[in-house]
């Protein structure tokens, strides 16, 4: 069984338990051991791109360094954590000034300079497990189901730091859908923003953005939408005004693997 450091992040502990629970049970069924680091901290939700910001990047560095010290690659599943941690890793590898300031503060036993490999859970399925292998383990395929993958913004961009897939024509979630026996639906808004945290102070804008995403998926005949992001799920369910069901991709994964009852919506 191959072992990885697993970073759940704050929201997977509370509002997004389904994203976390089914990621863990599915990994186990696929022969992957996910080990949570001790005393991890919230990633902060958004990466601060400013060059003169150091404190806001430290929690992500601590997580990256914990994986380095345990000698394993790091796995994230929440889109926001994935984005923050990969952008931090990219910048600390490519910006000597930032790396120096971060290491001067943290005083680690050995300086951290971007050594850890970071996988989003979808990358783990694609690059470590393999979608072909996953397909062989599926016991409840989503036969005849038209599933729309919602990437949103955080999974793919900025592509030079995230390096996960083609930022304008991604295939990783569609390949996942095929592996679990479903039919992927391609629609225009799949990599446009849902409105994100603007829901806090401007519901109208969140409604406009998330509504555009859901209408676009529905127009292409989707039966459901899947996401890796708790905030996308919230906006698409609560602010879009659409009746199309939205699930975490890990829920479908666990269902396909026979680890979870079917959703009844």
């Amino acid at each position: 069984m191959e072992t990885f450091t697993y970073y759940p992040g704050c929201t997977l502990r509370t509002k997004a338990k389904d994203l976390d629970t089914y990621a863990r049970s599915s990994a186990e069924a696929l022969g992957i051991s996910l080990v949570e680091p001790a005393d991890w901290q919230c990633c902060g939700g958004a990466y601060t791109t400013a060059k003169d910001e150091i404190a806001t990047k430290l929690s992500a560095v601590r997580t990256l360094n914990a994986a380095k010290e345990s000698g394993t690659a790091l796995v994230t599943v929440c889109s926001a954590c994935h984005n923050v941690i990969k952008q931090t890793n990219y910048d600390i590898s490519n910006n000597d000034d930032m790396a120096m300031k971060v290491n001067n503060y943290l005083k680690l036993s050995e300086p951290y300079s971007g050594e850890t490999t970071v996988y989003h859970y979808l990358e783990l399925l694609r690059d470590v497990v393999g979608f072909d292998k996953l397909k062989e383990k599926v016991v409840n395929p989503f036969k005849g189901k038209k599933i729309a993958a919602y990437y949103g913004c955080l999974l793919l961009r900025p592509s030079k730091a995230l390096a996960m897939d083609d930022p304008e024509n991604p295939t990783i979630m569609e390949d996942f859908i095929k592996a679990i026996g479903g039919t992927p639906v391609i629609y225009a808004q799949r990599n446009e923003c849902c409105g994100g945290y603007i829901t806090m102070e401007d519901k109208a804008q969140a409604a406009k953005r998330s509504g555009a995403v859901m209408d676009s998926a529905k127009d292409q005949g989707a039966d459901m939408v899947i996401t890796a992001c708790p905030l996308c799920l919230y906006n698409l369910r609560k602010n879009s005004g659409s009746d199309l069901p939205v699930y975490y991709f890990t829920e479908l994964l666990a269902e396909a693997l026979g680890l979870k009852e079917a959703n009844n919506e």
Partner: protein
């Protein structure tokens, strides 16, 4: 023209505003275009000109969703969102100028709102 703030913003963003060729693709692809008084290409242009004060006072600072669409799609790799962020930081770093305070949070909550929204908003709106 505010030379001091202009230099601070350019340094903090790490962006070379002179690379912009004013094609407007950043604003064309921005999901908040309709909500903004100043659009992404105007942030780049106005910082280049040193017209910082109008940007500092504008609600447009808090409409950027940090979706990185403009960063990804700029044909000149200008990365406009980094300019917007540097201006927003220059605003919220001023004493008493936080855009969001903890006292405002309880009224914004509902049973399903993920923590992710709250921590992200704090990171963007508050110092």
């Amino acid at each position: 023209m505010n030379k001091n703030l202009q230099e601070q913003i350019i340094r903090s963003s790490g962006v070379n505003v002179l690379k912009c060729m004013r094609c407007g693709k950043c604003s064309g692809t921005c999901p908040s275009y309709g909500e903004m008084e100043y659009h992404p290409h105007q942030f780049v242009y106005m910082v280049e000109r040193g017209e910082i004060e109008p940007l500092l006072k504008s609600e447009s600072l808090y409409k950027c969703l940090t979706c990185f669409a403009c960063v990804e799609r700029c044909p000149r790799n200008v990365e406009p969102a980094k300019v917007v962020e540097a201006v927003r930081l220059a605003a919220v770093r001023q004493q008493g100028n936080n855009h969001l305070t903890p006292a405002q949070i309880p009224d914004m909550l509902d049973d399903d709102l993920p923590q992710q929204a709250i921590v992200t908003a704090f990171r963007k709106y508050t110092k």
